[in-house]
Amino acid sequence: MDLDTVLNRPWSGWSKDDGPDTDVVLSSRIRLARNLEGVPFPVAMKGEHLTAVMAAAERVVESLNSGAGLGRYSLIAIKDLRQLDRAVLVEKHLMSPQHASNEKYGALILREDECVSIMVNEEDHFRIQTLSSGLQLPETLRLANVVDDAMDRVVRYAFSPQIGYLTCCPTNVGTGLRGSVMVHVPALALTGQAGSVLSAVGKLGLVVRGLYGEGSEAAGNVFQISNQVSLGQTEGDIVANLSGIARRIIDQERDARARLINGIRMQLEDRVFRAFGVMKNARIMSSAEALRLWSDIRLGICAGLIMGIPLAKLDELLVMSRPGYIQRTAGREMEPSERDITRANMIRKLLEV
């Protein structure tokens, strides 16, 4: 696999194919935490244990590459990556920000289409992650299980029949499964319902995360919903529960969008096209502004107000407008003010039809 190919493009294999319900759900993600039997977790690991984990990682890559239809995988040591390469991998959600600085022990196993990434020696020895577009958690889980089974054939996982897969943090014990859906809920935010809908979700044993800017709205109106409980339920039940709740949020968001269109269509159009106008013409653009405009334009595309721009293309902006991607594409580090100019240029080019 050519890593440059992955790092050069603002899109991913999974984001290219339009999944179901992409008008509200950006992505579905499954993570399985796995550790090797008899090797201390990374937090307590010593140099000699690294050899055991890396040998296992090599067997894993071999097993995955020899499995039919599993794709092509590469093993990359974090220390061999340039800083900006790491930044882009983080921005593409292929590894965590913490893992990017894990030079001593960290590695990444990456499938060329970016649907599968496995962090080696992050919090656990292995963190299998599968990603797909829209709401398709069961399918995403199936892929994670296929990868997990291929790994299971060549390594011995730490496991207890009582409490399941053993992980560094007890919050992941049992299935080691964390499912997440990234939802875009601009209409719930505009109608002031986002808070109540999402805190209701929080009462159902799920975790809602959003990043807040200075105002009360989450940046880009994007929230991540994931399960908290990983023990005492089957993988299928966890995923079914999360899918069911995501489905309710989708319904509520669509209702709110319909109310906006039917109730205050002109104001909505004005908002959407103002955003579109700025996005297509601005010469200086901060990442916060890009995100805010992205949210309005995405709503406009989904509501049928803006034609001719596929959602997948607009969503390239989410990676493209990040500092790491901008600087790596330019081939050098930049001051924020210079990045804002480059960002505006890149976005204008993206939106040229």
Binding site: V43, V90, S96, Q162, P170, V207, R209, Q228, E235
Partner: protein
Amino acid sequence: MMLCNRCGKNPASVHVQTIINGVKTEYDLCDACAHEEGYISMFHPFTSGAGNFVSAFLEGMPWTGTVSKPEQCPVCGWSYDEFARTGFVGCQSCYEKFGKRMEGVLRRIHGATRHVGKTPGWRKPTGDTKLDALKAELEEAIRKEEYERAAVLRDQIKELEKKSLSH
């Protein structure tokens, strides 16, 4: 000017809100801390904040042991205090070592203490009744914290597995 809730030094620039089991927590972080906590990438799916999360579950669970020396895992040397502070355990044996209290922690976090999901290949029943019986006995011994008996059983299992491999 509001200061960062984490370091208390720099001005806060990021407001983070999490809702866990219906409990809303909000805090303000500076850029550096937001980065370290993994919040800097806007849609980042990896934010764990797990350490704090586990510590919250450990609160109100007073030290009940009679020994004054902190309890340590014999395999990795990790202490229960370190676990309480970081939310992490050092190795798989910590789960056995901190047995009873760990069970309480798991119940608080997950509302359950029994795994009902997937099983890795090597843990699935082997079809060898003697081996399976020994393995079940081993689990029982570990649960009852009878470590000497567990060690004997573990050796017997290893011996049997070696034999079945050489066939």
